[in-house]
Symmetry: C2
Subunit: 111 residues, 2 copies
DNA sequence: TATTTAGTCAACCGGATGGTTGAGTTTTTG
DNA sequence: CAAAAACTCAACCATCCGGTTGACTAAATA
C-alpha cells in the first residue's frame, strides 16, 4: 500500500484513530476488541480501521472468523521525517512523553 | 491558539498546505507571494493559510496592506513527539532527508 | 443442524472541506 | 483624487467524512 503523506497525516487527524493506534502499542487486537471501549458502532470502528490500513499504519491477518490487527509504525516514518525537517525540537524527554501520552488518552476518553 | 493534534495533523494532510510551509522555510512571505506559484485563486490560498494559522503553524503580522506570514515550527512539536513515541525509527539520515524533501517538492509541483 | 459470533456491505444522513466567483475594504501609488 | 494592489467576506457548489441502520456472509459452537 502506498502510504502517502496525505493518507498518513489524514489518518492521524482523528482522535478515535489515534486512540486505536495507542491501543495496538500493547497488543495485536481483533476488530471487536478494538471497538469495545468506544461508544460507537462496530461498523464505524471498522471504517476507521480500514482507513488506518489504507494508510499502512495497521496490518491485518485473518485467522478463522477473526481479523487480527497489528501496528505498523514504520508507515509513520516519512511523515515523521517530514515534520522533523522543520523542527529544531530538542531531543525527546521521556518523562514528558509519558505525561503527554497519558493526557492524550484522557482527552480521547472524555471527548 | 490551542494547536491541537487534530488541527496540526489535519493541516498537514493537504499537499498545498505542506508546500506553503516548505516555502516559508526560506523566507517570510506575503499572502500574494504564497499564492503566486499555485494554479488556484487567491481566496483559496487565503483559506489554506487561515487553516495553518488556526493550527498555529503560521504566524501573521500585518504591515500596511500586506500580511506577512512566518513559519512557527514549534507548533509541530506535540505532533512530532506523538509520532516519535511509536517510532523505533533509526536516527534521521540527512542525505535521505534532503532527497525526500526534494521529491516532496516535485510531487507538489506536478500534482 | 441451529444459533451465535465476527465482521463486511450498501444505503443513507448531516456537516465539514476545498474550490469557485463577485463584491467590498483598506492602503499605497500615480 | 483616481486607480491599482492586497487582501477579506459571503454565497454557493460538489465532494468527502464520520456516523447510523439493516441486511448479509462466514466461521465457530451448542
Amino acid at each position: 500500500m502506498a502510504a502517502t503523506l496525505d493518507h498518513v497525516f489524514a489518518s492521524l487527524a482523528d482522535p478515535t484513530r489515534r486512540q486505536i493506534l495507542v491501543m495496538l502499542l500493547e497488543d495485536d487486537l481483533a476488530v471487536t476488541d478494538i471497538a469495545e471501549p468506544f461508544e460507537m458502532s462496530l461498523t464505524a470502528i471498522s471504517k476507521h480501521i480500514n482507513i488506518l490500513v489504507a494508510a499502512g499504519l495497521i496490518t491485518q491477518e485473518k485467522r478463522g472468523r477473526v481479523k487480527w490487527c497489528g501496528l505498523n509504525p514504520a508507515a509513520m516514518k516519512d511523515a515523521s521525517i517530514w515534520m522533523e525537517s522543520f523542527g529544531q525540537f530538542e531531543a525527546v524527554n521521556l518523562d514528558a512523553l509519558e505525561r503527554f501520552l497519558e493526557a492524550e488518552l484522557d482527552d480521547d476518553k472524555t471527548s
